[in-house]
């Protein structure tokens, strides 16, 4: 936790492909960026949802994977030394006495800047919550969707639900600490890394983990303390399993989150912008990529790149009001080439 505010030119909310490319366009125009993202890695949907999937419609790249595009963008923006605040949610946005924006994250990071660029795509990635009746009353008491500190789970009777990497990783990490660990998945196949699956199978064979195949349909307990779950197998009768901690790991979903409370005009959870500057109804707050809307909008990465370039022109006028905006090409401008750390032939 820090109470010292970081000062920069531009805060970018969202480190997906469009947020990353915005660093490049802003950097060419002499603006420094800090990026905030709720994920623990950069790349947004490209890195979280489809790192291995090929993308075929990035100009000049006949085929690139989500992770490949992310890596290439990170290399491209390296000369501009962007600062990343990962694993943090942009929580509140206020104005300072001298007219700058002050963004506070849920980790206590405070960043002050002239410009805010919202490149938050479909919103914040948050854990999927099983639609089991009454689960809310257990949340944060005995139902957890993430692990902040492993020690919290020592000597507990843990039930982990899910079949992906998060479910398997936490099964393996928490098993030594737990009094008892039960893994529940709806089928006896796991899409997690084969190595994790093998280790889990070995622990099951050694009697150190219980594995049950089925879906959780009911929670038992009171006052927020879970005592058991009812499991429905594919065939046969439902039965109960005792536990004092339930950890569902079903992947992530997207929610707009606190951006909705930033005082910007929203329409159907999107931020309407003009198509000259991609600015919201609040001057100096811009929205680019999947989160904005305007007539003819296409939710494509390439549209976001274009929006980033135009946004950067207007941002320059706010950040450097005393300077004249000069349009230059990277092919011919020694000024731009210096910024990129390259020398022309």
């Amino acid at each position: 936790m820090t109470t010292d505010a970081i000062s920069t030119d531009v805060i970018i909310i969202g480190a997906g492909p469009v947020g990353l490319f915005a660093v490049f366009e802003l950097g060419l125009n002499d603006m420094k960026c800090h990026l905030v993202d709720i994920l623990d890695k950069v790349g947004g949907q490209c890195a979280e949802l489809y790192p291995e999937k090929p993308i075929y419609d990035i100009p000049g790249l006949p085929v690139v994977t989500g992770q490949g595009l992310t890596d290439a963008l990170m290399k491209q923006i390296e000369p501009f030394n962007p600062v990343f605040h990962l694993n943090q949610m942009a929580e509140s946005l206020t104005k300072t006495a001298d007219g700058k924006w002050r963004l506070t994250t849920d980790a206590g990071t405070i960043i002050e800047a002239t410009i805010v660029v919202i490149a938050a795509g479909g919103g914040s990635f948050v854990p999927k919550k099983p639609p089991i009746k009454g689960i809310e009353e257990y949340e944060a008491k005995s139902v957890f969707y993430a692990v902040r500190r492993m020690e919290t789970f020592r000597d507990r009777k843990i039930l982990i639900a899910g079949g992906g990497d998060s479910a398997l990783d936490w099964t393996l990490n928490l098993q030594p600490l737990a009094t008892k660990l039960t893994l529940v998945h709806r089928r006896d196949e796991f899409r997690a890394a084969p190595d994790s699956v093998n280790k889990m199978r070995e622990l099951v064979a050694a009697g150190k983990i219980d594995l049950h195949i089925g879906q959780i349909v009911h929670l038992h307990g009171e006052g927020g303390q879970i005592e058991a779950v009812t499991l429905k197998p594919d065939a046969g009768e439902p039965y109960t399993i005792e536990c004092d901690t339930l950890m569902p790991f079903y992947g992530l979903t997207m929610k707009l989150g606190p951006v909705a409370n930033f005082g910007i005009n929203l329409h159907q959870n999107l931020i309407p912008v003009d198509t000259e500057k991609f600015e919201s109804d609040v001057p100096t707050i811009f929205a680019i990529g999947d989160i904005n809307s305007y007539p003819g909008k296409l939710k494509l990465i390439l549209s976001g790149f274009h929006e980033a370039a135009l946004m950067a022109q207007q941002a320059f006028r706010y950040v450097h009001p005393d300077r004249k905006l000069r349009f230059q090409y990277t092919t011919s401008s020694s000024d731009l080439q210096n910024k990129l750390g390259v020398t022309a032939e």
Partner: protein, 105 residues
């Protein structure tokens, strides 16, 4: 060609179905709720639907990737499918699906 979609309230909607479109796209085009967060790349399970029993066998069988991604869905049943993986053809005129909490919740 029609697609019959039952919403979470149990109301059935008959919507126009275009050949070679995915069932996910058709539902979205028909102005019914359809989250489909990953945009149809079989990566998120938020286009999960139930297919009416009589239609199950008329659909191409589920592939491994769809089966894996369905792990991110809830209340998965034997007739669960990801609608982004179902491509509409004339054989499927009148296909009946029901939205789920995942796709429309």
């Amino acid at each position: 060609m029609k697609l019959l979609v039952t919403d979470l309230e149990g109301v059935e909607h008959s919507i126009d179905a275009m050949p070679n479109w995915t069932v996910m796209e058709i539902i979205r085009d028909g102005d019914l709720p359809m989250r489909a967060e990953c945009g149809g790349s079989c990566a998120c399970a938020t286009c999960h639907v139930y297919v009416a029993k009589e239609w199950i066998d008329k659909l191409p069988a589920m592939e491994g990737e769809e089966r894996d991604t369905l792990d991110g869905g809830f209340e998965v049943e034997p007739n669960s499918r990801l609608s982004c993986q179902l491509i509409m053809t004339s054989d499927l005129d009148g296909l009946k699906v029901t939205l789920t909490q995942d796709s429309a919740g």
